[in-house]
């Protein structure tokens, strides 16, 4: 029987049978502290990439670890209709009518700090009981190691049961997603032919709730800068110099404070120029989702929420751009009191962008906003940490339909289309450089504490994720060229 007609049911059975093994493998990967943004973890980040490349090789992929100026990429190929060797790296897609799917994930993680708030060490994955059953707690549990492994485990079960996959698959795993993806675009450009496919599947987003799967069709973009305001040549005694010259901390605060007015509207000139209002259709669709605002805000420990005046919480999180300070430091930050005027102060500032905003324009506007306010005797040192556009994925595509079908088969509730406040630089790059769209099929939950202490992934979500990918692979095989 051709690979496209192989049954998925025994694959799902195999996933259930080997689920404990899948959890163990995820824990093995979670133990590697692949913190890509921190140069101190360069070796460990590479180690996590190698771990993934080795797993794919073991499953039967032609898998390689590729060096970049930053952390390495994993690229792996499996072609069910060709010998899975050199020739499988052929550049042609849709060999014999079967689609070619690019699967993307990232094996790097966010820094775990503040460490003292973790109930278990962030890199010693721990299985604990929660209201939804067992969960694994660790940095990267859901973002993105756990989600990435839902794809890899689906491949493994297909290969185990049928010795092949129902479609041609290329896998691309990145190690810099959490640090601005500096090597991604150059790598896609340099390997455009090898990475060409019909559609890209990404598991780095969320479900609507634990019963309801979701495909994310809108992602906010990101402009991230680190801005240091330099004043005096060295730290000074506040008793001697206080009041006679610009205090860089006070000045930085004033300027960061001016980024918003009292209605929390961003004050960077032109910031909202290209922002589109929601269409009536979208408004209707969003309304139909039955968003539970109280629960969403409650998950962050707040009651009323606050944001741009006159906007709903859903608009604020999906369709409105933001400007947030993600970190700030300057002067004496130890215990007790030190009467110092700091020589400099630093803020890490990021803007979440919505579709149609030009990230370069936002970056330029933000930098100009700061420089226009440079106080006397001061100068700025500004470093970009990522400039990525927002994305709207076309909702009329046979691949999206196939993914919806696979999800429908797996879950009791039908999948929904949702927006997402986060950013996945890959999606824009794939569209721009490789020329095809992405499908965001994710299995995270709102309370997974992504980027926070005690990040977790429900084992239920892990299981449903790999079963969904197994079914979606099957549904992809039916898409006609």
């Amino acid at each position: 029987m051709p690979a496209t007609q192989l049954p998925v049911a025994p694959v799902v059975k195999q996933l259930e049978k080997d689920f404990d093994g899948a959890v163990q493998r995820l824990c093995d990967l979670l133990r590697i502290p692949s913190i890509s943004t921190d140069p101190a973890y360069k070796a460990q980040t590479r180690q996590a990439g190698k771990w993934c490349a080795d797993e794919l090789k073991r499953i039967g992929f032609d898998s390689t670890l590729r060096d970049t100026p930053g952390h390495p990429m994993v690229v792996a190929h499996f072609n069910p209709e060709g010998e899975n060797g050199r020739n499988a790296r052929s550049t042609s897609s849709r060999t014999n009518g079967s689609p070619h799917i690019l699967y993307y994930g990232h094996y790097d993680v966010q820094p775990p700090d503040p460490l003292e708030l973790w109930e278990h060490p962030p890199f010693e994955p721990t299985i604990v009981d929660g209201p939804q059953g067992k969960r694994v707690v660790a940095r990267g549990a859901v973002d993105d190691k756990g989600q990435m492994m839902t794809m890899i485990e689906a491949f493994r079960a297909w290969m185990k049961v049928h010795g092949t996959l129902p479609v041609r698959v290329t896998v691309l795993l990145e190690g810099e997603e959490e640090s601005g993806s500096p090597s991604l675009d150059p790598f896609l450009k340099a390997n455009k032919k090898e990475l060409s496919a019909d559609v890209c599947v990404v598991s780095d987003t969320g479900m609507w709730n634990i019963q309801t799967p979701a495909i994310t069709y809108m992602l906010r973009g990101l402009v991230y800068i680190e801005a240091t305001l330099h004043g005096p040549s060295h730290d000074l005694h506040s008793g001697m110099y206080g009041g006679t010259l610009v205090n860089p901390i006070n000045a930085l605060c004033k300027i960061v404070g001016e980024l918003h007015d009292k209605d929390r509207v961003v004050q960077i000139p032109g910031f909202y120029d290209d922002v589109e209002e929601l269409s009536d259709e979208e408004k209707k669709m969003w309304k139909g989702l039955g968003f539970k605002e109280k629960e969403f805000l409650g998950g962050a420990g707040v009651k009323s929420g606050a944001g741009e005046k006159g906007r709903s919480t859903m608009e604020r999180m999906w369709s409105r751009p933001t400007c947030d300070a993600n970190g700030i430091y300057g002067g004496y930050t130890g215990k007790g009191a030190k009467t110092v005027i700091a020589a400099h102060a630093t803020a890490k500032i990021s803007c979440r962008l919505v579709p149609s905003q030009d990230p370069q324009k936002v970056y330029d506007g933000l930098v100009k906003f700061l420089k226009d306010r440079t106080p006397p005797d001061c100068r700025w040192e500004i470093h970009p940490h990522g400039i990525n556009p927002a994305i709207r994925v076309p909702t009329e595509s046979p691949y999206l339909e196939a993914a919806m079908k696979g999800l429908k088969q797996t879950f009791s509730k039908p999948p929904v289309l949702i927006g997402c406040g986060g950013s996945i630089p890959l999606v824009g790059s794939v569209q721009k450089i490789l020329g095809f769209d992405s499908l965001l099929v994710g299995f995270g939950l709102e309370d997974d504490r992504v980027h926070s202490p005690n990040e977790k992934f429900e084992l239920k979500c892990y299981e449903m994720g790999m079963k969904s990918h197994a079914a979606i692979l099957s549904a992809f095989a039916e898409v006609e060229g």
Copy 2:
């Protein structure tokens, strides 16, 4: 010959002869990292106190290390007209017409960070060449270990040459001056009789320049708070929650930014209510000092300076209150980018006060200013780190005249009366609790990098300081009761 008539010239000679030994002893003390504000250095802070108590005992004082709820106090007595034992702790002052002087210093130091900016390790005192001759570089070199040792070395030389001091002396050395002096007032109250004297001498201020000694007659007070703004219950993913709730860093910045208007005038209601304008006499006296603004600002690496609009740099540093953020931190402060909404952000904020401002009123006003601006879903956690008034020392006093005389004998240029932007809590407490005034005779220079990396003390200043104290001791003996 009575002690009051012993000659000072051989004492000065002895100081010259033993100068290398005095430098060695200072270095021994500088090697002890007595960082009082950091609990990790509790034992070392005590060790520095014990070192001082032992030195005073060696010189011939009745010297003790006294426990407090914080770091210990050193109290030492020498009574030239009584047996220097138990009875020397008698409570009466001016025995047989000789004055009784309380000498104050502090053996604790500021934290040395940022460590990477030190050219030599902060607790490995290093003698280096500078434009004014040799200098010792170390944390505490001038503030206050070096200055404190100018007094102790003067006592040592007097005792070595004459076997006695020309006046009755009590020494009080504190270990909490750099951390808000929490134990000072309770200790003065509990030991009021033992510490009673006619005047208190403090060496913790500066000279006008290396040729011109100075007595400081005005000190700014200090209100220091640590304010943490708490928002969400834990750090959040900025992609998921950014824009939907209050970001504590942005909110803290806005509030700290609002502490000043665009003319750098402090906006705390009532802040300037009790601030007095300079008298014509003071204006004239200050003008006569020939303040070199360019050099002063140049010492901090800035050109134009900036502060409260319409005020001169001298006013800003001596007679106007200030409000400065001395430290700020929140969110991700490591390398690279982390897209987090922090659960909380903290600012260390201090106000320098001028005479006639009520520090409690300023503290209350500052706290109210913050609380009046509490954003939705947020709360403040505020800790005071010191609430001390500013001080103006009477300029018509026989002790001040005596000190001026001692300085005149030692230096080629006559001493001047100056103001100081810094705070010495002791002065207010001595006035309030013990009921007598203080004399601020200091030997620091503007470029000593007090509280900064590479703090130094010119050996010339160290030498002139101890010679001055030797001469002032002699001049005190001539003051009539």
